[in-house]
């Protein structure tokens, strides 16, 4: 890999484009109007083309003005068509942006004959050409595209900082914002204008279609990682800057590994962003698929343990000694382990490791501590059966199913409440004894299974 000042400028331009897009795109993701970014980034094409034909230049204020106008036009047209045709917004967007894009494509194709503009560069970006057009500042050559990006980034940052409160309100609760005197509709249109201007500033680097990746993917990654607005924006911008650097390095190093020449930086950046999203989807601490699979497995095991201990406590009631073979575990009537060998094995393994169950000659015997917990489960179960029978008018045959679910979510307080409600009644509706509460000093109750929702209910700092 050979790194030159050209590469440095490419990375700087790509990182600036990424940061600008990520900042504005975050609000699109939060407002759940990501596809408006798609629509606008397609629709600015005729604006770019007209400005180009008029001025003959690819960068400049004319283009930003043209973009702002097209951004408003797109938003207005989409709303108009949605209202008049009573279509879903997606369909109206599909109509507006394809037609505008097609017009832009035709204009550019015609303009390409006499001016220096290529459809490929507009669509897919030509970051490699960015360092070639420079403006001098006190003898220091800065690429023109970089200057434009810095200006737009500054405008975006300034607006977000100045109107942080308004943006936050209008994004998360437009009705409340309106009630508080903030014109949420105006905020929406300003946002669309910013998206359009950002798109135009970034298109030279990443192209008008890959802009969508830079607008939406960083926001989506942040959406998986955090729930607070400021960290959200920081994560989003940070991710896109890192993706710019990694993307360019990947573009010049990965294809040679397979014996090819290098490839386009913008395409590579979008790919890297996609990989980042994939990683976040898998490994995000709370929202990641792995974290959620782990939570589900833990919950299943916790419930399985309680079920197994409950079965052992029942066996102890009948036979005096709480022991069951693996086959008996599965064959007991309405056993939660019927046909689930794997779950049973995992559960019993966990219980043995915790010293709640001991294996003896192919049978599983409950220990003293295990029996205590099993009785607590049984107590919850039978109290619930009593409750459903007395207060819920549930048929005798259905009681077990109803109680079976709730027994796992009964903490000592709730158990206490049920016990007080049925004080003096010692049996469940079928006449089975409700086990006594264990001695108050050691009252553990059934360990309450944590649901994935628990975490969400906890107050946040």
């Amino acid at each position: 890999m050979i790194w030159t000042s050209l590469d440095t400028w490419i990375v700087v331009a790509a990182a600036l484009a990424g940061a600008t897009c990520a900042l504005i795109g975050s609000f699109l993701v939060l407002k759940k109007v990501s596809m408006m970014g798609d629509a606008i980034s397609h629709a600015v094409l005729p604006g770019i083309a007209v400005a180009f034909i008029l001025t003959g230049s690819r960068a400049g204020p004319v283009m930003l003005v043209g973009a702002a106008l097209v951004g408003i036009l797109t938003a207005v047209l989409v709303q108009l068509i949605t209202r008049h045709a009573r279509l879903e917004e997606g369909a109206s967007m599909g109509v507006v942006f394809t037609v505008l894009f097609a017009i832009g494509l035709i204009l550019i194709e015609r303009a390409a004959r006499n001016v220096d503009i290529h459809p490929e560069h507009v669509l897919f970006g030509a970051v490699e050409l960015v360092p070639l057009h420079v403006i001098s500042f006190w003898g220091w050559d800065v690429p023109r595209g970089v200057v434009l990006l810095v200006v737009v980034l500054a405008v975006n940052v300034l607006l977000v900082l100045l109107f942080f409160k308004e943006l936050r309100l209008a994004t998360f609760d437009p009705e409340l914002a309106t009630a508080l005197g903030i014109n949420a509709n105006a905020v929406h249109y300003v946002l669309m204008v910013l998206v359009a201007m950002t798109t135009v500033a970034a298109f030279e680097v990443v192209g008008s279609i890959l802009v969508i990746a830079m607008l939406i993917v960083p926001g989506a990654i942040a959406w998986l990682l955090t729930r607070r607005l400021l960290p959200f924006l920081l994560v989003s911008v940070g991710v896109s800057v890192v993706a710019a650097v990694v993307g360019h390095i990947a573009a010049i190093t990965v294809p040679p590994l397979f014996g090819y020449a290098d490839t386009s930086t913008s395409g590579s950046m979008a790919t890297v962003l996609g990989l980042f999203f994939f990683l976040a989807m898998l490994f995000a601490p709370e929202q990641g698929l792995l974290a959620r699979a782990w939570n589900t497995a833990r919950l299943r095991l916790a419930i399985g343990s309680q079920d197994a201990l409950g079965l052992l406590a029942r066996a102890a009631e009948k036979a005096g000694e709480g022991s069951l073979s693996a086959a008996e575990f599965r064959d007991v009537s309405s056993s939660p382990f019927a046909g689930r060998r794997l779950r049973l094995a995992a559960t019993l393994g966990l219980l043995r490791a915790r010293g709640l169950v001991a294996a003896r000659g192919g049978r599983y015997c409950v220990t003293v501590r295990g029996l205590e917990q099993g009785r607590a489960v049984l107590r919850s179960h039978r109290l619930w059966e009593r409750f459903f029978y007395e207060d819920g008018q549930v048929e005798l045959g259905e009681l077990h199913t109803a109680a079976d679910v709730l027994e796992h979510y009964t903490d000592p307080g709730l158990q206490q409440e049920l016990a007080e409600r049925f004080a003096g009644i010692a049996t469940d509706p079928r006449g089975n004894r409700i086990p006594e509460e264990s001695s108050p000093a050691r009252r553990i109750g059934a360990p309450r299974a944590r649901t994935p929702n628990d975490r969400e209910k906890e107050p946040r700092a």
């Binding site: 759940k32 008049h84 045709a85 879903e88 097609a102 969508i212 090819y260 490839t263």
Partner: protein, 443 residues
Amino acid sequence: MIADRLMRVLTLADYNTRVVMFGTVMLGIAGGVIGVFLLLRRRALLADAVSHAALPGVAGAFLLILALGGNPRSLPLLMLGALVSGLFGMGCVLFITRFTRISQDAALGIVLSVFFGFGIALLGIIQRTRGAPAAGLNSFIYGRTASMIRADAMLIGTAALVVVVVSVVLFKEFRLFTFDPDFAAGDGWPVQRLDTLLMALVVAVTVIGLQAVGIILVIAILVVPPAAARFWTDRLDHMVLISAGMGAIGAYLGTGISALAPRLPAGAVIVVAHGAVFVVSMLFGSTRGVLRDLFAHRTLARRTVMQNLLRALFECEEAGRGGSVESQWRYLTTARGWIDRELTRGLRLLLHDGSIYRLPAGAWQLTELGRVRAARVTRNHRLWEVYLLEHAETARAHVDRGADYIEHVLGEELVAELEAALPRFGKVVPASVHVIGPAGGSA
């Protein structure tokens, strides 16, 4: 010269034009038909994600064939690549929406842009590889109808026929399930399989359309004609027919124009033609068109003014104020609050309508016809007022405004119901619940 060429194109005089025209028109029909269901299923932009996601498939297939030493311009193989990666992209959208807290619109944006970016990266590799005939791939991005040969047209035609036949055979099923999937599922229809079939047809049209219209714009042939058809009808069967027709017209015009101007990107020209059909529909559509809406609004506004003025004149007579020009004018402007401009306009409308007349220098009088109309309007208004007072417990001061809103849209059935609810009035005009006369009157 140009007219001559135009005629040759539009009358399909050349063999090449016939082939291309057959292909694009069939595609337009298929897109129009299946697009209707796609729109009703509220998944219009899913097709966009599918088409963008097809690019890495095309480029990947190209590289693979090149590496294996085959002919990398073989269309069926490239389309197979497009199909596989398009389906994979759709799977990703559904997976992300289902298993993460990312909303569907963001999932669409992520998949379409990342897949497309990956495709661009692969394309970059191809373009910088010496000796790779990369030019053919551009036609997938912009669409190039001109290079369509007979086999391509036949392929498109066959696929379009399949789409149309399936849609006709399963019309009832598709209708039920796109309008109300929950009800269909509850009713025992195989909703999951119907959904899969519908999406498979959408993917098929998308992939086949890639070559003709291009990756970026192929969604237009699925979305624009059905959206245009929406302005003409509320019925699904009509909408499917109209949408298919518009797909065909757009394709016909677009292909014709691009045959005359071969330098322009054909896909874009076809989409602009569809756009023109859409704009015409949006303006002139018979059910939801903008002009029709404006006209309906104007008609209602005019009828409201006329009815209000008829009642005012009727009550003016009742109050005994219609004797002279001055007292009538004073009654209408002061007691009833008409402003001069509105009053002049309303009087002109009524005069034109034959409801009123005036002798030279006399006050406005109701004609016989006008009196019948005025009596009916006044009666409706008062019946409604009494109804509001007695049945809806509205305060006396508010019933006039309440009746004002509703009286202009009372149909005959509603009036009949009112008469049934208030039988004591028979067919006469009830007395006003307000004091009519110099002291008050309703504003």
